[in-house]
Every structure is written in structure tokens, then in C-alpha cells.
């Protein structure tokens, strides 16, 4: 315990920020799963995304942080909200999850967690740590991403537009109003 406290005292400002963000992210993620009202789940998920964006900034991936907020916390969450509104979830429908399902989910999730913790703590899995000499705070900026994306990764980039096109065409094809559907 005292060892832990000592370690805690030695933390830098970034270290504190990391802990605060990590705890917030975990709490809001738990809230996503446990909230009774699906809208609350969505709000909690947005909070989680913001915390993760904070982590990205701490990891020196600034553009990713911005994208995370624009695309995920912004656009994707709108889709989530729409989906919830389509489903028209009511209180009564909720008990479709049996205890067995819940238990299985907990067991699988717990196993995955234990596995991941073991992996990341393993000696052979240590990735290089922070090195002040070679550290470049501009790595995660949008310029570097741009020069890689538009020279080396040009083919996957262009083909991503095909992916978007498929998604768009497919969605409107499935979402098209059929004769006889409700109007509003």
C-alpha cells in the first residue's frame, strides 16, 4: 500500500491526467453496460469516447483524438440514437437476456480481460518506453499522416471510397420505402 502511495506521489502531471482519464473512461464504460435507459447508455458512451480522446492526446496522436470526437462521438452516436428510436425499446422487452446469457457474457469478458492483462504484463511483450531523445511531439499531427496516406497508402485510401459506396448503396437499398409501408 505504501509502495503504491509512493508511486502515486512521484507521478507527473501527465501521469495524474492518465489516471483520471482512465478511471473516468472505465466508469462511463460500466455505465454504458448497466444503464437501464438506452439513451443514457449512449450519453455514457459519448463520455467514454471523450475520455479515450484524452488518452489519444496523451499518446501523442492528436489527429486521431479529433477524428474520434468528430466521427465517433458526433456522427456515429447520431446513428446509435436513431437506431434506438427505431427499435422503440420499452421496459417490458428488456428481460430477453436470461441469467445464463449474462453469466456467459461475464465469463467470456472476464477471460478476455485476464488474457489481455497477462499479455501486456508479459516480459516478452514489453514495447519500447518513452525516450526523450528520439521523442517527436509532432508525430501524430495531421501533416505526417497526410504525407503517408497520400503517398504510400494511396491504393487502400482510394478503395476505401468503394467501401463507403457499398455501404451507402446497401443502406439505401435496404432502407428504401416499400409500397405499403407507413408514411411517417
Amino acid at each position: 500500500m505504501s509502495e503504491f502511495l509512493n508511486q502515486f506521489k512521484q507521478l507527473t502531471a501527465t501521469g495524474y491526467l492518465f489516471w483520471v482519464l482512465a478511471i473516468l473512461a472505465l466508469l462511463s464504460a460500466v455505465w454504458v453496460v448497466t444503464a437501464r435507459n438506452p439513451i443514457h447508455s449512449v450519453l455514457a458512451l459519448i463520455a467514454t469516447f471523450f475520455c479515450l480522446s484524452g488518452h489519444y492526446i496523451l499518446l501523442n496522436a492528436q489527429f486521431l483524438a479529433a477524428v474520434n470526437i468528430i466521427v465517433y462521438a458526433g456522427a456515429i452516436m447520431v446513428l446509435f440514437l436513431f437506431t434506438i428510436m427505431f427499435l422503440n425499446l420499452r421496459r417490458e422487452d428488456e428481460e430477453s437476456k436470461t441469467n445464463l446469457t449474462k453469466m456467459a457474457a461475464v465469463v467470456v469478458g472476464g477471460l478476455l480481460m485476464v488474457m489481455l492483462i497477462t499479455i501486456f504484463r508479459a516480459k516478452s511483450a514489453q514495447v519500447p518506453t518513452f525516450n526523450p531523445v528520439s521523442f517527436d511531439s509532432r508525430t501524430g499531427l495531421v501533416e505526417n499522416l497526410g504525407s503517408i496516406l497520400y503517398s504510400d497508402y494511396i491504393l487502400p485510401f482510394e478503395l476505401a471510397s468503394v467501401l463507403f459506396l457499398v455501404a451507402m448503396v446497401g443502406a439505401v437499398m435496404l432502407g428504401k420505402r416499400e409500397a405499403g409501408d407507413r408514411h411517417f
Binding site: 492526446i57 436513431f82 485510401f157 482510394e158 471510397s161 463507403f164 439505401v172 428504401k176 411517417f184
Partner: protein, 158 residues
Amino acid sequence: MLTDFGIILLFILAAFAFIGIVLFVARLLRPNRPNEEKNSTYESGEEPVGNANIQFNIRYYVVALVFVLFDVELVFLFPWATVFGQVRLINETNGSWGWFALTEAFLFVGILGLGLAYVWAKGYLDWVKPQPKIPRVDTNVPADLYQRVNDKYSHSKP
């Protein structure tokens, strides 16, 4: 000595603090006399009925999805904007870099633009407009009879 992101963090903290202070000050200053009318949901002066959580039409979803795709496309254009005009890259490639980058982005935007054109032309973005049914009654009375009657008697009055 603050880094750039330290300043942003300060901004965020200041924003939260500002909201808190304003709300707290308002609480100190305002009178607090709630009644049932004041506590009810505001619905343009109407009596609110039922739950706001109703089932939406799927068409909203199509629009939202198209929006998400273009949002992602926009995100891809940010990095492009920063490297498109880079003098170093243009000099290295004898000026062909600019054209190359321009073609890349136009291809990307063009394919998605074609997608939008497709969705638009197919009419998936159109809302179903209500088509009012004009009631028709089979009668021998001509439609302009009332008008004629009105005209006749409105002038005869002194």
C-alpha cells in the same frame, strides 16, 4: 511552462468552471417558487401527451448514414489539405506532386459524389409529400354558383 495541449486543457477546465459558477450564482440570486405548471414539459404551449420516445421512420436513418459517410470523407480530406501544397514535396517531384494529390482527392470525392448522385437521383432523399385528397361530390349545382350568388347580393346592398 504550459504545452499547447496544457492550454487546451485549461480552456476545457475553465469552460466547466464557468458553467458551474454561473449556475451557482443564478441559484443564489433567483427566487424559487415552483408550481405544477412551471415544472411541466414545455411543448409549444400544448399539453404534452405520451412519451417523446416514439418510433422514427427509417428514412431518417438513410439521411444520417449518408451524413456519416460524408463526415468520414471530410476527415480524410484534412490530411490531404495539409500535404497538398507542401513546397518540399512539390520541389522533390518537379511539380507533379500537386497534380497527383489533386487527382487522388478528386477520385475519392468523385466516387462518393457519384454515390450521392445515385442516392439523390433514385429519390431516396425525398420525403414523401402529403398528397391532399380534394373531396369531390357529384352534384348538378355548378361550382361557380355560390360565387355568382355572392357577387349578386354583395352589390345590391346599399
